[in-house]
Amino acid sequence: MASLVGSRVERKEDKRLLTGKGRYTADINIANQTYAAFVRSPHARAKIKKIDISKALKASGVVEILTGEEIAADKIGGLIAGWAIRSEDGSEMKVPANPPLAKDSANFVGEPIAVVFAESLDEAKAAVDLVKVDYKVLKGVINTAEAMKGETIHDGIDKNLCYDWLLGDRKAVEEAFAKADKIIKVDLINNRCVPNAMEPRACVVDYNTASEEITLYTTSQNPHLSRLIMSAFGGVAPENKLRVVAPDVGGGFGSKINVYNEEIVCSWASKKIERPIKWVAERTESFLTDTHGRDHVTHAELAVTNDGKFLAFKNETIANLGAYARVFGTVTPTYLFGPCATGVYTIPAAYTNVKAVYTNTAPVDAYRGAGRPEATYTIERLVEKAAMELGIDRTEIRMRNFPTEFPFKQTLVHTVDSGDYVASLEKAKQMSDYKGFEVRRKKSEANGKLRGIGVSSYFEACGIAPSAVVMSLGCGVGLWESSEVRFNPTGQVSVYTGAHSHGQGHDTTFAQIAADELGVGLDVVDVIHGDTDKGTFGMGTYGSRSLAVGGIAIVNACRKIVAKGKRVAAKMLEVSEDEINFKDGEFVVTKSNKKKTIGEIAFACYLPGSRDSEFKSPLPEGEEPGLIETSFFDPSNFSFPAGSHIAEVEINPETGEVKVEKYTAVDDFGRIVNPLVVEGQVHGGIAQGIGQALHENTEYDETGQLITASYMDYTMPRADNFPEFNLGFTCTHATSNPLGVKGCGEAGAIASPPTIMNAVIDALGGQEITMPATAEKVWKACKALKKPNSKAA
């Protein structure tokens, strides 16, 4: 039987999604449902003096209006920061309360203040306009770099500082810097991005007055975790009375990890008004209230020798958390960022210091890559600049500092189990015709264009998150994953996973894994996820963890099934277990070639009864009937995908337009389960990173109004913004899991921003420019060039 793992299998989920039969949250309607619309703060920072709902309550179709007073009176808890971070001085991080409906003060534009439930959406929206909120408007703190100097947003949080965190050894770094031939410095802004999953957030809540159970259909990347948070911290309902279903979800990119105000409010309210509730975000609501990504201001330095060896690295970053710390808000700029700060290089000394600040902007949380794109952008800008200043070829300087042996003990935290950084960079050079670049540069110049080339070599730590490793760092949470595999009596297999697919293709890739392990056809394997009533508790999908953690739980559960099957087969075939070999779905006695299929074994496990005219159980003594196994897999280490990307851009100095001419990506994801799906993940990631580098910017004005709150104002990359990406792969197997797999979902978004920016800056002759390198900025930079291109002058 040919292995399904490694094959370009077309996706099982596609037919339903392609024929309009997908079932997204907004597609769900429940009889007698009401429609929710939220009253949101129009101010970035204000005291809420009074809310007058009297007029709105009398409006047509209004069922109920609830405010922060009621939710506080019912003792419903707020939104939470998921990870505790300790400052360099040992103090605990400072986290403000984040009630689901703001009662006393509003801290960002769009923060929910009250909610209207009405018989129709039109009526709900109309009534929202009749709710009168009396605000005392205060001066907001908006700018990341200036946040510590602004007025205190949250009582008791001095300088708006959540924590001042250090990873690494300042003294060792300073000593190494003193010995350096040269210090390379960069000042960077990692621009704030809005994740913009194409499906806006939504929730539909159904409260069953008989069973007192709440069913919440929601756009979540992690329904089990949502239920836990809503139950344990929100107090909405005990877990056994709260079912969370995340059906088809139209993309997440980190923005659908969090439990949001609207989900808590609607779940609580549904029980209160004893009616089902439907809420669907408009796109501008999503812009205002989805968690955003990135938003770092960084100063970093690299100490080097004249022959291009890296001696030490330092990074001083201010990370904007927005108005509140959310689930991955505090860990993204620390443990997901700091340990990766030194990149793919041997750097003897390093430290990263992060000051996380509150501002009157939307909360910032994990966004595709979460911390690792920011880390990679910093080190790769430094390395490229070092090459430029030292006059060493940009690939050569990288080669000189790559580790030569694996496991590679990194400067700060990670022990990278496997990799071959030289191989991927060599392959990327060859695939991109690196040595032919100067010819292409001259050709562009002859056409009045500026051409640049950029390289970035990255690694990342994903497969979030091995408990032992994160606990050694002082984080109290480990993120294992679970699976239950049910081999049905009649031969089909149901694979339950705690991971969640919102575009990743788990219905297919997880089925490939299980089918291979059990030796059955792909068509008889169903993957089930996204419903807390179905299958075991799991942590969900983010941090490129689904395969490297969740996939392994499936493997382990399948292997338990095979192990039990072998015990049963031995009894039935009247041999000892070690005389049986399991291959391609058959338990075969090596010597006699007598066999039982796994289907026959499954049937016998459920229906032990007569055989050979004797009433004799096929189950060995002490063996329970049934063929269902569960596994909870907690990996021993992160997985460390890595690679090198090379881009060429062409700038039209007359317009400032940057065109990505060539993009080559060579990645090492270990063993690949489905190349079709993996390539798709890489394409999407690269596009998202190019979006950040060239197009996307989240712009708040000085009063905290988000002026890029629609697709008219926020530049979402379109099809004609990209060339065809040229992908290649190298392969070193991960040693921390039995499949040898590494994560692939975030790599593109991690590697591409520095690749593109290095190319743009190369085209501009080394002139620094901030992301996004929009036509306006680049046009200005072209004007500032010392020797303007003759034709463009």
Partner: protein, 153 residues
């Protein structure tokens, strides 16, 4: 209220709806054809593209009353005799979709492109799809799917 009478996926439908009912709402809420998606409020994302009298339009910015008497095809209407349309098949084969949310609009738009141009090149495909935003695929496999469909249609 106004009476909207149109043919949707080959079936005549007639409903009394508020005057301001837009076509995407009419399809989703009144006809339960939830394959047509709404991803923005500004007629930018293209998830709502359907065909009206054979031409692709954004159903989120079309009043249902304005197309009285027209023939509408949605993503649900592409399957014939249990078989997917060659464009749907091509999207599956080339992995032109991930989360699937933008996909119905993408497919409807791409079909209209091939009605206008039999064998478009990469640039023509990318420019045509300017009005359809996808966050998952980086568009590469969508372009490949359109080319694949062009070779089969």
């Amino acid at each position: 209220m106004t009476k909207v009478t149109i043919e949707v996926n080959g079936k005549k439908v007639s409903k009394d709806v508020p005057d301001h009912t837009i076509l995407s709402v009419f399809l989703r809420d009144n006809l339960n054809l939830t394959g047509t998606h709404v991803g923005c409020d500004t007629s930018q994302c293209g998830a709502c593209v359907v065909h009206v009298d054979g031409k692709s339009i954004k159903s989120c910015s079309t009043l249902a009353a304005d197309i009285n008497g027209s023939k509408v095809t949605t993503i649900e209407g592409l399957v014939k005799d249990g078989k997917m349309h060659p464009m749907q098949e091509a999207f599956k084969k080339m992995h032109g979709l991930q989360c699937g949310f933008c996909t119905p609009g993408m497919v409807m738009s791409a079909i209209d492109l091939l009605q206008n141009k039999k064998n478009p090149n990469d640039t023509e495909i990318r420019e045509w799809l300017e009005g359809n935003i996808c966050r998952c695929t980086g568009y590469q496999n969508i372009v490949a799917a359109v080319k694949e469909a062009a070779s089969k249609m």
